[in-house]
Symmetry: C2
Subunit: 218 residues, 2 copies
DNA sequence: AAAATATTTTAGGAAAGCCTAAAAATAGCA
DNA sequence: TGCTATTTTTAGGCTTTCCTAAAATATTTT
């Protein structure tokens, strides 16, 4: 059984591995989990001993098969709890993450399974991220950044890249929600801001915003 | 914010305090949480510094007002989660405690409140124990031990004293459930075993059993 | 009331998980 | 290739929570 801390390391390495094919560096992990590189080195040794990661001094780490499976279990729990909080307990999508960070560490296979059933086997969490199934299989979609669309194109809002509370609240304030249809009416050459038609109203979205919104072309 | 461990001490002292009016001894706590008296002494000092308990060397401890309030919050969470697992996730009453022991440490007032609402403000957990309300008020009932009844009396099964999995499973096996009506038909003088009519079938319940079942006379 | 017994505390130590500062290794560049 | 800057590891320390063994205190028995 892994400790709370070990699980957080595993999850950090998992998420960092999604961004690159290279091994994950000590510094990158330290940055991610808000700790010091020396603390990370220490933990990496322990997790290597437990065969959760492949680690060679100075060469970075990658998840082993077991580590990958374990990380997926934690991500699954995290996202299922987010769905529970959002769907059943009236939490908003900017509030769920913090509590899911705690709930993801509850150990009970039956609990995870029953929660999944109770929520009717959801495919995505409230931020549009895919939920691994019981076997650890995760269905990634072909989502692209809104910033890559051309004038005239229409697409569906299916996810956010960085789901910080402040960004999610910004979207809420503008009544932009997951599932909405977006049509690009104009792109400002000067600052790349995008004029977008959403729910019959026009929005001007900044470069930062459109680089943080995932869509699926329709 | 209290640690996981401090919360467990608080809960132990709370439960021990229900059994007696005296101060709680170091040994009793050690026994309850399965640790050593020396470990307990150490923690009691820390919790006294945090004003959660009143502690005088060699004299035992009691909860302060703040400690009592905090303990009740944890008990509230524990029992609400038990209801959730039992009512919504198909857990049996002998399985819920173990997982609630983990869930009770999740910190979020909103979560507790919304869970309470979602479960429709339950008054009792799956073992018949009362759930403190948001303000920490707990409604104790006049329940008595089945062992105290006389031949001919009828009462409703409303709780168990020791809710160990093995005892709860024993009741399940005999189709004896919370809410059932029990009528005493005979008491064996030799071993105090009780002949009880439950759901139209006759059961012979041992001394240990009838001293572990709470009822309300009807 | 003294002796024996039981309870509680103190002393000293271990493991986990974090830190800072210094040393070692690696990578980038002239 | 050799020097410099960056990254990573090691060394040493701190806190939390647990432990065992010994000392101190309280309780019970004679
Ligand atoms: Mn999240
Ligand atoms: Mn999410
Ligand atoms: Mn319980
Ligand atoms: Mn209970």
């Amino acid at each position: 059984m892994l400790t709370h801390s070990e699980e957080n390391y595993l999850k950090a390495i998992f998420h960092l591995s999604l961004e690159t094919d290279e091994d994950i560096s000590t510094n990158a992990i330290a940055l991610k989990i808000n700790s010091q590189p020396s603390s990370v080195t220490e933990m990496l040794k322990k997790m290597s001993d437990k065969s959760m990661i492949s680690y060679q001094k100075y060469k970075g780490v990658s998840l082993t098969e077991v580590g990958q499976k374990t990380a997926l279990k934690i991500v699954r729990k995290h996202r299922l709890w987010e769905v529970f909080l959002f769907d059943k307990l009236n939490f908003s999508w900017d509030e769920v993450h913090e509590i899911a960070e705690q709930l993801e560490h509850i150990h009970s296979d039956k609990l995870t399974q029953e929660l999944d059933r109770f929520l009717d086997y959801p495919q995505h969490d409230p931020h549009g991220d895919p939920i691994p199934n019981r076997a650890g299989f995760i269905q990634y979609s072909e989502k692209i950044l809104l910033a890559t669309l051309q004038v005239g194109e229409t697409a569906r809002f299916v996810g956010v890249k960085d789901s910080s509370a402040v960004f999610l609240q910004y979207l809420d304030k503008r009544n932009i929600a997951l599932g909405d249809l977006l049509t690009i009416s104009f792109i400002e050459a000067f600052d790349q801001s995008m004029h977008v038609l959403i729910n019959d109203s026009n929005h001007i979205l900044s470069k930062q915003t459109i680089n943080n919104i995932y869509v699926l072309k329709v």
